[in-house]
Amino acid sequence: MPLSDAAIAGRVLAGDTEAFAVLVERYYERCARYAVRVIGNREDAEEAVQDTLLRAFRSLHRYEERGQFASWLFRILANQCRSTVARVARRERKFPDLYADDALPVDVGPNGDGETLALHDSSGERLDTALAQLPPDQREALALRFGESLSYEDMSAITGAGVSALKMRVSRATARLRVLLMEVHHV
């Protein structure tokens, strides 16, 4: 029977540093999936995940066993991703030419208002491109709600935002994504 997260944390705190590898294996991919959706590029997302796990290791003594390790870890991850999003935005403002070619091709919709994306790549890239049009707090809310299947109460504990504010973010973000993906989604 696999050890619980709390039991592994206890072993790490007792001096067994290598036991932390189990937690890293258990959560790395899940954290990366969240970070990619929120940050928008894989290099920065992986860096954020590595920083998150290292920070979690260093502050493991603050983790209370009665709480969910995943929730605690995602609180750290959410903060790290916010910092990374802000850093990436500063970087792109400072060097706009460097990132101009990285944008995925976006066709202006039939109304010519740029609201509708007509994309011709895979669904994952379509979603990434559409997500990039949303504000970071909405991406964060969507990733927690749909990617992690969290309740609004759990999302509130992670993000620090109120439940009603999170519901509003998810609702607005979903509606916006529907518009952005309408031409290619066909559901």
Partner: protein
């Protein structure tokens, strides 16, 4: 298809997309462990013996003792003509503050001595120099304030008896606890 059903199907699709694995570096977890092995390691758990409230109460008691003792350090400078010195210096402490400054303890003292022309703090950590820490008058209520930094260790503590000094007592100050010996 109704709009609510359309929205529900869209959300189902969205959840599937969000849960789709992302391409990550195969050595990502190993890179994390390399960083972990090179880091200082998690701090130890906080001792559960003392609650924050108990620690605060203990600190308040310690500071109270120190403040009381600091009252005995206030003496008039040599050229003062302190009228009713005993009465002026017995009602000394009206406020104090205390904070850790490295390993030294910063102690604020306040004295109300409306009849005194000048007041100073003197002690062994000053070399008994009356000019180092004058207690200046800060407001019109005749409250005078000063702050002194006391290094860890034992210090001779004078006791004011009028304008005379009695060097019989000691005050101990260190970074973790303070104890004041009983007056001999």
């Amino acid at each position: 298809m109704s709009d609510s059903e359309h929205r529900r199907r869209f959300e189902t699709w969205l959840a599937a997309e969000f849960r789709r694995p992302v391409a990550i570096s195969a050595d990502g977890p190993e890179r994390v462990m390399a960083l972990v092995r090179g880091s200082a390691g998690p701090a130890r758990r906080r001792r559960r013996g003392a609650t924050p409230a108990a620690a605060f109460a203990f600190a308040a008691c310690v500071l109270g003792v120190i403040a009381f003792r600091m009252a005995t350090l206030l003496v008039p400078t040599s050229d003062d003509r302190l009228v009713g010195a005993d009465a002026g210096l017995r009602d000394t402490i009206s406020a104090f503050r205390d904070s850790m400054e490295g390993t030294a303890r910063l102690v604020g003292v306040a004295v109300i001595a409306p009849a005194a022309a000048r007041i100073a703090v003197v002690h062994d950590f000053h070399g008994w120099d009356l000019r180092i820490t004058p207690v200046a008058q800060r407001d019109e209520r005749a409250v005078r304030n000063a702050a002194v930094s006391i290094a860890p260790g034992l210090h001779l503590s004078p006791v004011t008896r009028g304008a005379a000094l009695d060097f019989a007592d000691t005050v101990q100050s260190n970074s973790t606890a303070d104890s004041v010996p009983e007056r001999r």
